[in-house]
Structure formats: C-alpha cells, structure tokens
C-alpha cells in the first residue's frame, strides 16, 4: 500500500498532465498549437540549461550542440523505423512507441555527448568555460555538417510529424519535475554549494568536479530531448537549426528569468517565444524590438525576473497564497526573507 502510494506520488504530475494535455490537444486550434509547441520546447531548453548555468553556476554556451545530437539521433531512428510495426500493436501505436524510443535514445546520446564535452571543459571556470562550451557546440555542429550519413548541410528532411501537445507537454513536465526534485535533494544542494562557493563546497566533502560533470550530463540529456521534439515538429533537422545563436537564445531566457529560478526560466521562455511570434509581422524591426526588450529588462531587473527565487516566493504571491515565512524546502534555494511576509501568519 505504502509502495503504491509512493509510486502514485512519483508519477502524479504526469498523470494530471496527460489528462490536461489530451484535452488541450483535442480543442486547440492548430495555429496556437504550433506556438505552444515552440514554447514547450523552449521551456525544456531553458529549464535544463538552468541546471548548469543557474543551479551550478557554470556558464555553458553549448546547449544547441546537445540539441543537435538529440535531434539527429531521434531523426535517424524515426526515419529508419518509419515502416516498422510491432507485432500485435497497430501501426499508429507502433509509430508512437518508436518515437518514444527515439526520444529516449536522443537523451542518452546527448548525455554521452555532454559527458565527453564536460569532462575536459569543466576544469575551467567562468569566461573560459563559456568559450570552450561555445567551441564544442560549434564542433558538434560542424561534425554533423560534414557527415554524409547525416545529410551534411541539407540535413535530414521528411521526418514524420510526431511532436504534438501531449509529447511536448509531457516532456515539459518531465523537465520541470526533474529540476524541482533535483533542487530539493542532496544532489541539488551540492550543486548550489558549488555555485555559492566552490572552495567551501570542496572542503565540505562535495566532489565539485564530479557534480559539475553530472549537472552537465543531465542538462545535455534534456537538451537532446528538446532537439528531438523540435525536429519532429517541423519535420526537419538541419545543422542551421543548431547554431550558437540558438544557444544564446536559451541563455537569454535563463538569465532573463533569473539564474537558478525554475519558474523564472519557464516564464521567460514562454514570454520570449510569444514575443518573437508576435513581432513576426514587423519583420524588419523584429530583432530591434527583441533586443530593446532585453535591454529594458536587464536595466530594470539585472538579477532576472525572479532572481534565484521562485515565482511563489515573490512577496505578491506570498500574500496571495497566504504563506507564512520562508519555507526552506523545495526550489526556494535562494529565497530572501521579505519583510512584509516575515511577520506573517505564524
């Protein structure tokens, strides 16, 4: 009984999500559905990058490279198994299963790439790490660009259209749940310690190199997932989708939302996706407006929308939820005690 309950608790977000997403999928007009897909993919990217850049405080600029690894891995599998049918199961179900396998493989391959890149580069810090990861991201892309087997510069086209609201939505839930549970675990706290003070973390028995590599691998795996999803949404996987501009877009989301804040990453990823789509009509001024928006936000809130806090730690929401002083559990890693709620209900 207890075991059943704990299993239920583990998968509760997914169960609820599945129901909601199935409903959304049924009623959502296609135009909005596309934007929602992009949003979802960006949320996966931003939250996963936050594990490295926000939780661990290591500045990585190579996220697009891992996306590419995931996208191509998944594309190869879905293309290779496009006519495949499991015994007993129907064709449609088989193809969904193939996609699930492809997503898993994408994550695994991206994680391997993350490990290979992380091992040598994580000896470096700050700007140096940023430059090295940027370099590795570009290396991954140019390797792909030069492989016949992966279609070189034209990439792989004609992928089956598999990414729908359910797949993307479940991936978002998987990513957010991962980040949230990580943040409230021993493992996550070790990452925060590295961000706060590496020397002290090491002196307190935290294997800083090991944990940095771990964070990098986890983050890369979810980037691979995002890559696979986007490739099967636009039915295409080309090297041009994964240039370092893409990496920087994701970094912008994370910084804007607040380094270390999961909800911040989510809000920023959604806002920027919508902003870019909304500005599509003003093609010529699009990037100007986008840049101005960023400048404005950085001037007014240099620590990002929520700093290291979560949205529910902000004074406004605290009052709304009538929560007493700070809870130290959960993702409120960097929460600051705010005067107007400290004397609260307790």
């Amino acid at each position: 009984m207890g075991r059943l309950l704990s299993l239920f608790r583990t998968f509760l977000p997914f169960l609820v999500g599945l129901v909601v997403l199935a409903g959304l999928q049924a009623v959502m007009p296609p135009v909005f559905a596309v934007i929602l897909l992009y949003m979802g993919v960006n949320v996966v990217l931003a939250v996963s990058l936050n594990v490295v850049n926000g939780f661990t405080g290591q500045f990585s600029l190579g996220h697009a490279g891992f996306m590419a690894v995931g996208a191509y891995t998944a594309a190869k599998i879905t293309l290779g198994l496009s006519g495949f049918q499991f015994p007993v199961l129907g064709y449609a179900v088989s193809q969904q299963l193939v996609f699930a396998i492809a997503l898993g493989a994408a994550m695994a391959m991206a994680a391997v790439a993350g490990f290979l890149v992380g091992m040598p580069s994580l000896r470096l810090r700050g700007d140096y790490l940023a430059i090295v990861t940027l370099g590795f991201g570009e290396i991954i892309r140019s390797i792909i660009e030069n492989m016949k087997f992966l279609g070189q510069a034209t990439g792989l086209s004609g992928l089956p259209q598999r990414s729908n609201l359910i797949w993307v939505g479940m991936s978002v839930i998987a990513t957010v749940v991962m980040a949230q549970r990580l943040a409230s675990s021993t493992q996550g706290r070790a990452l925060f310690a590295i961000r706060e003070d590496e020397v002290a973390a090491e002196a307190m028995g935290v294997d800083t190199t090991g944990y940095k590599v771990r964070a990098f691998v986890i983050s890369a795996a979810y980037a691979g997932l995002a890559g696979a999803l986007i490739a099967h949404a636009i039915q295409l996987s080309t090297p041009r989708m994964f240039t370092f501009i893409r990496s920087i877009e994701v970094v912008v989301m994370v910084v804007l939302g607040g380094l270390g804040s999961i909800s911040g990453s989510i809000v920023a990823a959604c806002t920027l996706t919508v902003a870019l789509e909304a500005l599509r009509e003003f093609q010529a001024y699009r990037m100007v407006a986008y840049a101005l928006l960023l400048i404005l936000l950085m001037l007014t809130r240099p620590q990002g929308l929520f700093g290291t806090r979560e949205i529910w730690d902000l004074p406004f929401f605290r009052r709304l939820l009538r929560r007493p002083a700070l809870a130290s559990d959960g993702g409120s890693a960097g929460a600051r005690p705010d005067s107007n709620s400290a004397g609260g209900t307790r």
């Binding site: 706290r189 925060f192 020397v199 002290a200 307190m204 700070l326 130290s328």
Partner: protein
C-alpha cells in the same frame, strides 16, 4: 590505533618562499591544540596543507593512518578532517539549514535517479539529513535561524554556522581558522566555551588558530607557535607563556606586563 591526524615534516614552498618548514603535528583523539603565530607565520598554510587545498612540497599528512597527500579536499573531508575558514565562506544565498544540510552530504547514498523518482530510500535519507542538520544547528544555538538566508545573519552567528557546517561533515578532527576573529571579549569567551563543549560532546580533536593570546592560552591544552613558517615552540600554555623565543617573536613586552593585547590586524586571505 593510529592518531586521527598525523602531520610529519610538511614543507610548503611557493617558488622561492618557504611558507611552512618541517611542520610536525600529531593530534590525539579529544585533544585541543592551539596554533598561534604572528601574521604571515604560516598558520593558514598549515591548514591548507592538511585539508588538501595545497599539496605539500615535502613531508606527509596521514589521516587515521592513511596517507592523504595526493587526495582532493573533498576526499580528505570524507576521511574526517573538517575546517572553517578565516574569512567566512558560507553558502551565502542559502538558508542556515541548507548550509548544514550540504555538509551532511558526505555519507549520503541516494543518487540522482533516487531524487528523480522520489524513492523511499531517498525520502528516508532526506528526513535523516534534515534531522541531523537541525541537531547541529541546535548545538550551535542557531535553531531559531534555521530558515534565514545565511548572508543576513549577524557576524557572530555566521561564524557559529560555519562551525555547525563543519561539524555536520562528521569529522574526527575539526580545524578552526580564527573562529573568534572580529568578536568582542564576551563573545570570544562564549565561543570558546562552546568549542570546549563541542569537543566533549562529539569527542573530537580540535585544532584552533587564534590570534588573541589570552583566548588561545585559555582554551588550548597544547600549543604550537609558528614564526616565518618555522615551529619555534610547542608545549603547554604555561611553558609557551614563558618561552623567550615566543615572547620575542610574537607577544612582545606588552604581554609580559599582563596588559590586554589588541587583536592584530587580519592576515590577508589567500
């Protein structure tokens, strides 16, 4: 049984500079040893050589009989040597509880996937770590500050939190680098009482760097005096007090006249 910490003939060279020469120290369980010396004498260097921040140029550091010269700080910490820092190095943006919980990390068994799937093992361990962390906060009188961001704590409490954090790693030897720096006389007395009670309660050996002579003499059972990296004297506080070399190097005439000595300016951080 071998001593919890054995440092034999450790020399630290930085280029042409010998920051520490032939440093030897054997700590017995439950011992309270004071390490004193003027600014730049090599006290913190000695700490760094013991805890693995530096690799000794010569000599040997053994923890419970195992040579640890080439181990990283986190490995040495896991073997049972914990430290605090001269210039407080808390995890500033985290709560007091989280600071201590991070230090409980060492023995934690559950990994990333345990956390991801909230396994029973993971939840039991989290609960255990939390209970332990709260116990250490309690010992250091910081329970009421549990959910406070450590940066916002008053200075003295930050120092105490650092000790709580070091204790939480479950050490056999605790190295305190000027734990009383910047405190007033009453706070110092208080802290030293606390240090002694920690030693008694957990049966630790404690190595303490202290600038204030009266405090150092008051608390240590045995003292080591460093000057320019050389151990110029060691022994019981009473003997140190009378040792002419020590008086010359460090104490000066003022101490002989039993006047209060102002705390000398802080050593530069590394």
């Amino acid at each position: 049984m071998s001593a919890p910490l054995e440092v034999t003939n450790v020399t630290m060279r930085f280029g042409g500079l010998k920051a520490l020469a032939d440093f030897t120290l054997i700590m017995q369980p439950g011992e309270l040893v004071g390490l004193i010396g003027p600014n730049g004498a090599g006290k913190t260097t000695a700490f760094n050589a013991i805890t693995g921040v530096y690799v000794p140029s010569e000599g040997e550091v053994k923890v419970a009989g195992v040579r640890v010269n080439d181990e990283k700080p986190h490995q040495i910490c896991t073997r049972g040597i914990a430290r605090t820092f001269q210039n407080i190095r808390l995890f500033k943006q985290l709560t007091a509880l989280d600071n201590v919980r991070i230090a409980c990390h060492a023995g934690a068994q559950s990994g990333f996937f345990d956390a991801l799937f909230l396994t029973g093992h993971h939840r039991r361990e989290e609960a255990r770590i939390r209970a332990r962390a709260e116990e250490y906060l309690e010992v250091m009188g910081l329970s009421h500050r549990r959910d406070e961001i450590s940066r916002n704590l008053p200075y003295g409490e930050q120092r105490r939190l650092e000790i709580a954090r070091a204790l939480a790693t479950g050490p056999k030897v605790l190295c305190l680098d000027e734990p009383a720096a910047g405190m007033n006389a009453a706070e110092k007395t208080n802290l030293m009482g606390l240090v002694r009670s920690i030693r008694d309660r957990f049966g630790l050996a404690i190595l303490i760097i202290e600038h204030d002579m009266r405090v150092a003499m008051g608390i240590s059972e045995r003292m080591l005096v460093l000057d320019h990296g050389i151990t110029i004297a060691q022994g019981k506080p009473e003997a140190i007090r009378k040792n002419p070399k020590v008086i010359e190097a460090y104490l000066g005439d003022a101490y002989l006249e039993e006047k209060h000595i102002a705390v000398p300016p802080q050593e530069n951080s590394k």
